[in-house]
Structure formats: structure tokens, C-alpha cells
Symmetry: C2
Subunit: 173 residues, 2 copies
DNA sequence: ATTTCCAGAGTGATTAATCACTCATTATTA
DNA sequence: TAATAATGAGTGATTAATCACTCTGGAAAT
């Protein structure tokens, strides 16, 4: 990956996350990255190719957070680690997640491939703990993760820590 | 409100919710609504004016669902009604909420004005029930509402009902 | 050790299409 | 007839994408 290639990628991520994918033109990306517009198309084919490159770039780093949880065996630790995930996201990955959450709403089909491994892991954990409906409980944890992540990314609440305390209490963790 | 005015409004809402606000041109709205493009600007001034009209149009109907909860006095009923809100949204209001949730991510400052009345009502309810941290509990309910609404709007899960059962159980409702 | 060669990085002018928006004109209604 | 509703061609700006082109560093050939 060239220096300019990486500059394009990070600049586009910033703009896409901040202003929105559709609202950000390739010419603005080029100008902000200090690069000719043609270079974007040389390296990434088209605007969507640039977006896909950003997604892949971010997913590789996201896998590092998800990985250890999928290795864990203690059910309570699995649930706790999952619920604490939104707090483990480093600040410099915020734009990537903002972009991903924003895109959910305009993609035709929702992609479960990212959350499915965690869902299955959680279902197993709740089953071990003799919860009545492990599938629904797993789904609920995923909803909580999304909700907390959303409120953090949008800076909607300053007391996320206390909210998380309330959540953990409900699972006796 | 003229027949064509309403046609513009509902058509734009459909397209904005489905394809995104930025990705939907006024000419596409006009064509889909079977109306001249100029008419949009005559009635709504500009594209943002059209968006604002849609917001107001939807908020008036949303207030009908929110209203009764703010009147309620029994704390347990308040919490239960709040958590069940996502299920009370009629199907024909889905596009409006899809649009609203999508827009959250590209607006510069998040607008709390809609959720604040409910937040305060919930804080009061949790305080009455002697919860340790009413503010955090209220915030958590709002997060749950957003999360469940999201999963319903994106048709991410088919077992929302069971998820809600799990949620209500955690509040002993 | 020169010279030749070439692949790929990078440029910026340019394309056709589309964008939000305007306006003079016509149709409809009161 | 007066006012309003509606039209659709037209504006300049901007869009994503393409184009022919230059520059550069290293491999190959002499």
C-alpha cells in the first residue's frame, strides 16, 4: 500500500463518516487528501471500490477485538466481554464504526455475517447458564451492544459507564 | 394540503427512507410522484424544506404514541409502555422512522428534544421504584427502545416478541 | 558502467450525466 | 377576472469517471 493510497483511504473514511457516503464526492476526497482525483479511480476502480477498501481495512482491525471473545469458554465471561465491547473500541476507530452504522440504513439487505459468530457464541453461553430462551437472550445482548455503541458514537450520553453498570447488574455479572 | 402536495410528501418519504436523503434527487422524487420538479420547490422552498415537512408530518403522528405514556402515573406501567413502544408503531410509519434513524448519523448535533420528555418520565418512574441509579436506568431503557426499533425496522430478527419477553422479565414486569 | 526499456504511480483537463433550483408560461379554480 | 396550482424547459454548478499524458525507479541489455 502506497503512502498516497493510505492517505486516500483514511481521508475518505473521515469524510464518509462525518458527512455521509453519498454527500461526499470523490473530488472532495481527492482535494482533502492532497491527491489527484484520477488516482482514486486508478487504485480503487470506482467510488464503491473505495468504500469496500475502507470496510475491509476496518474489519481487519475489528476482528482483533472480536477474536478473543470467540476463544473464551466461561459463559459469564463471554457475556461480560461482549457487553463491554463498545468500550473497548479505540477512539481512532470511531469513524469506521460511525460509517458502518450509518450505512446499515441504506443497504438493501442487512449483513449478518459480522454479528453471527458472536450470536452463536452468546447462544451457547446462555444455554450453559440455563436461561429459558438462549436465542432471544443472545439477540438482546447484540441489541444492547448496538445501542450502547450508538450512544457512545453519537456522544448522546456522558454516563455510559453507569449505564453499563446497570446492564451488568441485570445479568448478575 | 393539496393532493399533489401530499403525494410529493409521501413519495419523498419512501425514497428518502429507502435510498437515503442525499442519494435521492428532487427530479427522482418528482418523477416518482408524477409531478413536475418545479412544484416541489414551489411548495417546499428547497430540498431541505421538503425534508423538514416530512419530519413535521411524521412527528405529529409519533406524538400520538408518546402522549399517553407521559400522562401515565404508575411507574411500572410507564416503563412497560415505553419498552413496548417499538411494537406499537404502525407499519405505515416505518419509512418515517427509518429515515429518522438514518439521519441521526449525518446530523452535526444530535437532537434530544424528542427523547427528553420520555427520559424525564422514566427517571421519575425508576426513582419511585427505588432503583439505585434512575438516570442510568432511564438511559438504558432509551437505548433498548432504539435497539429494538432498529432490529424491527431492519427486519434483522424474527423473534422480537421473545426478545421483548426477556427484557420485560429483567424489569419484573 | 552506461544506456535502454518498461511498469506503475500520479496528474489534470475533460467527458456526459446529474444535481438543486428558477422562471416564464399555461391550466385550473374561486 | 383574479388568484392560485402546476408545468417543463432551462440555468450553472457539480457529479463520477475517463482520458492521454508525465514522472520515476529499477531491471535488462549493451
Amino acid at each position: 500500500m502506497t503512502e498516497k493510497q493510505e492517505k486516500i483511504l483514511t481521508t475518505a473514511l473521515q469524510l464518509f463518516a462525518d458527512k455521509g457516503y453519498d454527500a461526499t464526492s470523490t473530488s472532495k476526497v481527492a482535494k482533502a487528501a492532497g491527491v489527484s482525483e484520477g488516482l482514486i479511480f486508478r487504485h480503487f476502480g470506482n467510488k464503491e471500490g473505495l468504500l469496500n477498501a475502507i470496510k475491509q481495512y476496518g474489519m481487519e482491525k475489528a476482528a482483533l477485538v472480536m477474536g478473543p471473545i470467540l476463544e473464551e469458554e466461561d459463559p459469564k465471561k463471554i457475556i461480560k466481554a461482549a457487553l463491554e465491547m463498545p468500550f473497548c473500541i479505540p477512539k481512532n476507530q470511531d469513524p469506521f464504526w460511525k460509517l458502518l452504522y450509518a450505512l446499515k440504513w441504506q443497504e438493501d439487505i442487512y449483513d449478518n455475517s459480522m454479528s453471527d459468530p458472536l450470536r452463536h457464541k452468546l447462544e451457547g453461553a446462555f444455554a450453559k447458564l440455563k436461561y429459558k430462551n438462549p436465542e432471544a437472550e443472545a439477540e438482546l445482548v447484540l441489541i444492547l451492544i448496538d445501542g450502547v455503541a450508538t450512544s457512545i458514537l453519537l456522544r448522546k450520553c456522558e454516563n455510559s459507564e453507569q449505564v453499563m453498570q446497570s446492564v451488568l447488574a441485570k445479568y448478575e455479572l
